[in-house]
Every structure is written in structure tokens, then in C-alpha cells.
Amino acid sequence: MENENLSVWTSIPFWRRSAAWVTGFASILLIWLTFDTLGQISMGTDTDLKNGVTKRVPGPTVINYQIGYEMSTKRGHEVPVIGEKEPFFGKEWSVTEAEDLLHLGKLTSQAKNCMNCHTLLGNGAYYAPDLTKAWLDPAWADGGALQGMTGKSTKEEAMAEFLQHPSQYPTHARMMPDLGITADEAKGLVAFLKHMSSIDTNGFPRNFGKEEGTTNAK
């Protein structure tokens, strides 16, 4: 590899140019796709929800609606389905109220460091359950074990109660610590969880809450 190059394959300028072109091309493609994705994952509005427009990330007022997680034969995986209106903590939340509540909840999720035990959208630590679709966990629904444990009569009140006093409601030897979550912060967190469950995650987690048949794992 002295001055005269026998082959282009051993030429430094050739590889340097190729590296620059490939890196440049990959970066431009990433930036272009980023613009497209940012458009698709920006939050929807209240009007979208009223008109039944499906957004990958619905607006904060989605907390006023029932949320389901059903198999879509067209897409080949489960998708969130936004249904009829339902009260959330006993009322319907206006646009600004819902925005403020979600803001408080998201801030609290970071301030309490949820992600270093749980996973959110599958990212985080693996010490505690994934929270992506926690709102849809049958255990929190009417008649579910977790709701029953707290003695509350709605899903949101049960979750908020648990979040405020987690170590009073141990489900297993591994418990959630008391993080000093206030009543308002707990409401915010439940709104954050409900909102997250309405995000179209391309079918993750698969078969969530659809345990079928018998298993010896238990």
C-alpha cells in the first residue's frame, strides 16, 4: 500500500469517500424518516377524538373514553380501540384539565423514577411489570384482584390508592416502595397510564391480558 495502489480495494481515499457517502446517505434518510414519524406521533386533539379520527398518540382527553385492545385482522396484531365515553375519577375532563393532569402525571413519572424499576413502552428496568398497557390489566378491572385489594369501586381510584400507599398493598414479596406520591400526583399518574394504553404500539405487548387455557407455570 505504498504510493502506487494495486487495487481500489486497498485504497484509503476510496474507503474514506465511501464512508462519507454512506454515512451521509444514512443520516439524510434518518432525518427524512424522522420528519415523517414526528408527524405521525404528535398528539391528536379533542376534535379528533370526537370525530373518531384514529391517531397513533391520541390527545389527553382520551382519558374521558373507554379504551380496549383488540386484534385487528387487517394489521395482524392488537390495536387500541377507543370506545364510548366513561367518567374518569367521576367526571368528564375538559381539554385544559386533561392536559394539566397528563402533564402532572408525566412529570411525576419522571420525578419518581418509575423507569428504573418498570418499563414504559418496554423501555426501562426489568424489576417490576411493564406499564405500557397497565390500564388494561384485567386485575385492575371490576372484580379484579388488584382492585379488590384496595377496596375501591373504580379502576382509576384503585390504581391511585395503590400508588399512594404501595407497600400497604403487597402483591408479592417484591413490593413497590412508598415514593411519597400525593393524591393529585396519583391521579396524574393514572391519567398518564390511561393515555399510554391508548397509544398504538404496533401490537406490543402481544396478547396482553388474554391468558387462555391451563398452564403449569402457575
Binding site: 484509503i12 454512506v22 454515512t23 414519524t37 397513533r56 389527553p60 418499563t119 414504559l120
Partner: protein, 479 residues
């Protein structure tokens, strides 16, 4: 600590500053391992330090110490090689030293707040002062701004020295790569209520660091080390480096798609992420071949010229760099490829599989070569011509590698259990999670992980002792 390393043989100020960074790096490495041990024990005995020093705190310090010690060792390595590569004294090393003290003071405060304050109220001020609660980049915003300032000083030093001195291929790649590495940190400083948007930008930091810019960075370190340690020919090493840049950025930049499968982002990321992340192991194979090939070739040339013995001028450093070639390929390449395809990842995403991959990849790709660079620093600091591995060096590399590989295998087994039972069989709920966590074989795997964690820590103690003593002993033998 480490004050026994006398810097009086170092030929330039940049190397002295590099050694300062190395000293903090090795202390933080120890802190990382201690925090990991606490977290590993909590998996087995959940009552351990409950509501006093919870898993979330141990885990946060565990991964933050990891990132910070690696960044320290990376900055240290750059300062260390700066003058050797450019043939020019670092332009503003005095300012660099001031930045070092500011950064170290800031890191200390951040860690003390993590440990003693832990969490705050759900307000903006918690994000500014206590922690941002975003995995790996938890550092509060005031520290983010401090980090940006310190990195600017560092980058100015590197860039201005590069411009003033020789522009080797290694330095050209490094200067460009460091700019991208530093710039990407900004993507992690925004707050949004939209969790999908939050995670989208979060990956711009995490992925484009560890699967692109950090990989290219260690490519430059390996190139530098091969020239210095075994006398590899610069033309060949630099040609390989450009090929590595091509393949690492060509696969790694769009390989980001494999983090965009399930966070709310569109389905086209399945195809893009699957294709490009499946290519990510290719450059790691190339780097692996390159290191072993060059070593064998230089050894062969030396033999043919009738030189007896070893061409390696620093035994422990070379051993760690060869471990890097294996570890990067296995940990990042193979263990990453295991679960990178969406068809597999829909079940494995966010399980102990990820933890298994994370442990071997960070160790194999980064810890190994950075430890190698530290040995290189020790050799220079004592002015040793040929530094042979001691009993302590051998114990350190054997126990640490065995420990990390052991943890990886244990976590992989735990991951299988978790995926099959929690995800496939029981549908991923709260109850499904705990059913899987309580399976006897899962618990057994966690026990082995903890045991292997202890093995790793014992290896670290050997490493620390070796770093403190090997230079002095080698110098005494040579004299």
C-alpha cells in the same frame, strides 16, 4: 487514590490530564459494580434496603456510573493520545484541567443527590435539580448544561489541536465522531408530555451513542492501540478504520429503527430496523478479524526477521483489546442479533434478554478497550518499555470476563423463562410478570447472576491492585 501512579514520565500535559480522567473512571467503575451487586441481591431478597435504598436508586446509580466512567475513560483516552497522534501539544490543557475539576465536582453532587434525595415531587424543579427520570440520562438539567459546557471545552481542545497538528486518518475520524457524539446529547434534554415523542428522542442519544458514535470511537482507539502496541502498519490500520466507519454508520444509523418497533412509531420501522440492525454485527466481525489478523501478521513478520519473543509492548493492554474484539462481536453482535428482529422482539422487548445483551455488550464493546487504554496510561506514566502481564493482571481479566459472561448466560436463561411464561403463555400482565419472576429456574438464574456479579467484583479488586502496582514493578525489573 491511585496517587502512587507518578506522572513524572509522562511527556506532555495532555497525558497527565488523561491520567486524571482515568483515575476517576476506575473509581466510578467500582461504584458501578457495587450498585449492581445491591440490585442483584434485591432480585433475590426484595426486603434488602427496602424503602431505604430501593432498587430504582441502586439501578439508576449502576447505569449512570457506567455511562459516566466510560465517558471519563473516553475523554481520558483522547487527551492521552492527542499529542502522540497530532504531534502537537494540546492547545488549552490548562482549561481542560479546570473543566475536569468542574465536571468531577458536578458528578459528585449529582451522585450524592441521587443517593440521599432520590426522588422529588412531580414538578419541573425536580427535573432541574434532582433527576430527570429517563433511563441512562437521569442527570438533572443543571448538570446537563454543565456537561455541555465541559464537553465544549474538551472538544475545543481536540479540534484546535487537530487543526494545529498532523491530520492523521485516526484523528480525522475521531474529530468528526466526537462532534456527533457531543451534539447528540442535546437530543436528550427536551421535556414532552408525549411519551412516544419522549422515547423517540431519547433513543437519538442512547442508540446513536452506543450503536454508532461510541463504536466508531473505540474503532479509533483500537487503531491507535494496534499501532502503538504491536507496531501495526498505519496505512493498513487506517484503511480498516475507514471500512469500519462505513459499516458501523451504514448499519448503525438506520439500525435505530429496531428501537422504534413498539413505542408508538409507524410500522415501516419494522423493515428498516430489522434490515439495518441485522447488519450491525458485520462491522463487529470485521473489527474482530482485523485485530487478530494484525497481531498474527506482526508476530509473523518479527519471527521472519529473526526477532525472538513477543512484539507486544504492553501485555495486559493487548489482552484487553483482544478481549474487546471477542466481546464486541459476541455481546453487541450475537446477543444483539438474538432479539433484534420484530418477530422475536415483540416477545423479548423489555425482558431479561435485554439485560443479558446490555451486560455483555457494554463490557465487550467498551469496558474492555477502555481498561486497555488505562494500562497503556500506566505504562507511559512509569516510562516502561515492555510491560508484561502480572499475576494480578491475569486474575483481573480472567475473573472479570468470567463474571460478566456468567452474568450474561444467567440473564439469558432468566430471559427465556420470562419470555416463554410471562409474555407467550400468560399475556404480559402484572400477575404474569410475577408468576415468571417466581419460577424456580428464573430465581436460580438470578442467583447465578448474583454469584457471577461477586466474581466480577473480585476481579475488579485485582484490577485495581494491578493498576496501582504493575508500573512500579515493571520499572524496577527493567532498571
Amino acid at each position: 487514590m491511585l496517587s502512587s501512579i507518578k506522572a513524572n514520565h509522562l511527556t506532555n500535559e495532555g497525558q497527565k490530564l488523561g491520567m486524571m480522567y482515568f483515575r476517576v473512571a476506575i473509581i466510578l467503575f467500582g461504584a458501578q459494580l457495587l450498585m449492581g451487586l445491591i440490585a442483584a441481591i434485591q432480585f433475590l431478597a426484595p426486603g434488602f434496603l427496602f424503602e431505604l435504598f430501593d432498587f430504582s436508586v441502586a439501578r439508576m446509580v449502576h447505569i449512570n456510573a457506567l455511562v459516566v466512567w466510560m465517558l471519563y475513560a473516553m475523554i481520558g483516552s483522547v487527551y492521552f493520545m492527542l499529542t502522540d497522534e497530532t504531534g502537537h501539544e494540546g492547545v488549552a490543557i490548562g482549561l481542560g484541567k479546570l473543566a475536569f475539576w468542574i465536571l468531577t465536582a458536578a458528578v459528585t453532587v449529582v451522585v450524592l443527590v441521587y443517593i440521599f434525595v432520590q426522588v422529588g415531587a412531580g414538578t419541573e424543579s425536580t427535573l432541574w435539580l434532582i433527576n430527570e427520570g429517563r433511563e441512562y440520562i437521569e442527570a438533572p438539567r443543571w448538570a446537563d448544561i454543565g456537561i455541555v459546557v465541559v464537553v465544549l471545552v474538551f472538544y475545543y481542545n481536540v479540534f484546535a489541536t487537530y487543526m494545529a497538528g498532523k491530520k492523521t486518518g485516526i484523528m480525522t475520524v475521531m474529530v468528526a465522531d466526537l462532534l456527533a457524539l457531543a451534539g447528540l446529547y442535546l437530543a436528550g434534554m427536551v421535556y414532552t408530555d408525549n411519551i412516544s415523542m419522549d422515547q423517540f428522542w431519547w433513543w437519538w442519544v442512547i442508540h446513536l451513542w452506543v450503536e454508532a458514535t461510541w463504536e466508531v470511537f473505540v474503532g479509533t482507539l483500537a487503531a491507535f492501540a494496534l499501532i502503538r502496541l504491536i507496531g501495526a502498519k498505519r496505512e493498513i490500520v487506517e484503511m480498516w478504520l475507514w471500512i469500519e466507519v462505513l459499516m458501523l454508520f451504514g448499519s448503525g444509523i438506520l439500525g435505530m429503527g429496531h428501537h422504534y418497533f413498539w413505542i408508538g412509531t409507524p410500522e415501516y420501522w419494522w423493515e428498516i430496523g430489522a434490515l439495518f440492525s441485522a447488519l450491525e454485527p458485520v462491522p463487529l466481525v470485521a473489527m474482530f478479524v482485523h485485530v487478530l489478523y494484525d497481531w498474527g501478521k506482526e508476530q509473523g513478520i518479527a519471527k521472519a526477521q529473526g526477532k525472538s519473543g513477543n512484539v507486544i509492548t504492553n501485555g495486559p493492554a493487548m489482552a484487553w483489546i483482544v478481549t474487546n474484539a471477542f466481546g464486541n462481536f459476541l455481546g453487541a453482535g450475537i446477543w444483539g442479533f438474538f432479539h433484534t428482529l420484530p418477530q422475536v422482539n415483540i416477545y423479548t422487548h423489555g425482558t431479561q434478554f435485554t439485560a443479558a445483551h446490555g451486560h455483555l455488550a457494554f463490557f465487550g464493546a467498551y469496558a474492555t478497550i477502555l481498561i486497555g487504554m488505562m494500562y497503556f496510561g500506566v505504562q507511559k506514566a512509569y516510562g516502561v518499555k515492555q510491560m508484561k502481564a502480572t499475576f494480578n493482571s491475569k486474575m483481573a481479566i480472567t475473573l472479570i470476563t468470567l463474571g460478566v459472561v456468567g452474568m450474561t448466560v444467567a440473564l439469558t436463561i432468566a430471559g427465556y423463562e420470562q419470555v416463554l411464561v410471562e409474555r407467550a403463555e400468560l399475556g404480559g400482565t402484572w400477575d404474569a410478570f410475577f408468576t415468571a419472576q417466581n419460577l424456580p429456574w428464573y430465581v436460580q438464574a438470578q442467583l447465578w447472576r448474583a454469584i457471577m456479579g461477586v466474581v466480577t467484583f473480585v476481579g475488579f479488586v485485582y484490577l485495581l491492585v494491578d493498576m496501582l502496582t504493575i508500573g512500579k514493578r515493571a520499572k524496577a525489573t527493567e532498571a
